[in-house]
């Protein structure tokens, strides 16, 4: 109630609070946490993929390419487009190394 939800990141062992109506990515960013890379913040680029292991959340619109319905079903979602309804336990998959145009 006004205090927000508790998000536990099993990958790092860290945790943070996500306010009601706030996306998980935004809550991470506001605390300077770098659990997942921050991309477009609009559900379009697929950069902020996480796995939700426990808890309920609401989804905003996400690119079907990066978050197909089957994946969303299994909790593979985009952190910038999920809004917790309960406390969450998440995992942040390791990101593939970035290859700059070199």
């Amino acid at each position: 109630m006004g205090m927000g939800f508790h998000v536990f990141n099993r990958t790092t062992g860290g945790h943070f609070t996500c306010h009601e109506g706030q996306s998980v990515l935004k809550a991470m960013e506001q605390r300077g946490l770098k659990c997942v890379p921050v991309g477009c913040r609009g559900g379009g680029c697929g950069f902020c993929k996480i796995q939700v292991l426990e808890g309920h959340f609401e989804c905003g619109k996400m690119s079907k390419r990066h978050a197909p319905p089957e994946a969303v079903e299994k909790g593979e979602v985009l952190a910038c487009r999920i809004y917790p309804l309960t406390d969450l336990i998440i995992e942040c998959p390791p990101q593939p190394a970035v290859d700059f145009a070199s």
Binding site: P37, C40, G42, G43, G44, C45, F47, R65, V98
Partner: protein, 307 residues
């Protein structure tokens, strides 16, 4: 050598949520909604443009760019360029007049980088928004947000830059204004123009075909870019980077994202081009400075976040 392509004419952008997108492009960026069609597409233009629309938004379940269109001088040029494309081995597709409202027939083709482009000769001439063509005032009142002046260019990411260059330069008459070369001398970025602008379209090498990096809109001054940055904060819009300056083109710029994750740019300034100018070269060793002249380091998000 000029072959009758005159300028960027439109871009069709896929968005996840139309209402949010219209709010972004109209209220924040200051484009003017000019029409909608029975497919639910929304047509917009920037105030200084003379034709009816330059941005078309289409709701889809994946963001990105459907195509970018260039206007050509007249139907005769369109017929000639269509023939030249076919002779060069490019497959062309006919898009009937009125498929986009108030736009004539379009010739669509996909270049080797995987991006779709169109040529067209006719679109309804509505004149600059809010201004008379006789004794016009300096600018129209009633503009919103960033007051974008015109749709300016797009940057695309994809493979096969050399083959893409051939279509644009050899067939369509674009000029190479700036390039980035890797240590082996391979071109990994190309900025192409049909005008005096330092780019009308640009490509950066990327393994995956057909990716969209940004659509860009022109502003008049650095102060306007700073004001755009203020508006991005006021509206809690997703920012990418800026305000800053590019090494490439030397434009003063800011990048941000629409609500579906498509990147936008508003910018001012930048170099100019005449057909006797030789291409400007940047080396990948200095890519950081080439892209962000002040930071002089690459920003991972800028290089890899695409729709």
């Amino acid at each position: 050598m000029k072959k009758g392509v005159i300028r960027p004419g439109h871009v069709q952008i896929r968005v996840l949520d139309m209402d949010a997108a219209v709010k972004h492009y109209a209220d924040l960026m200051g484009l003017i909604e000019t029409d909608r069609d029975d497919q639910g597409r929304v047509y917009l233009k920037a105030w200084s443009e003379v034709d009816k629309f330059s941005v078309v938004l289409r709701e889809a379940d994946e963001p990105g760019c459907d195509f970018m269109g260039f206007k050509v001088l007249d139907e005769e040029v369109l017929v000639q360029l269509e023939k030249d494309l076919v002779d060069y081995g490019v497959e062309v597709e006919q898009v009937r007049a009125e498929e986009l409202k108030d736009c004539g027939r379009r010739v669509r083709f996909t270049v080797p980088s995987g991006h779709a482009f169109e040529l067209y000769a006719d679109k309804l001439y509505t004149g600059k928004w809010g201004l008379s063509s006789v004794n016009p005032e300096a600018w129209p009142r009633g503009l919103r947000g960033m007051k974008a002046v015109r749709f300016d260019h797009c940057l695309f990411y994809g493979p096969e830059l050399a083959a893409t260059y051939d279509v644009f330069v050899n067939v369509l008459g674009f000029d190479l204004v700036e390039q980035v070369l890797d240590p082996e001398g391979t071109r990994v970025a190309q900025f192409l123009t049909v005008s005096m602008k330092e780019h009308d379209v640009a490509f950066i090498h990327h393994e995956e075909k057909g990716k969209f990096h940004h659509a860009s809109f022109h502003l008049e001054t650095w102060d306007d870019v700073l004001r755009a940055a203020d508006l991005i904060t006021m509206t809690d819009t997703s920012i990418d980077i800026g305000p800053t300056r590019h090494g490439l083109t030397h434009g003063k710029t800011i990048y941000f994202f629409d609500p579906s994750g498509n990147r936008n740019e508003v910018f001012c300034g930048g170099d100019y081009f005449y057909p006797d100018h030789k291409p400007v070269t940047w080396k990948t060793e200095e890519l950081g400075k080439a892209i962000f002249y002040h930071d002089r380091v690459l920003n991972e998000r800028f290089m890899t976040v695409l729709t």
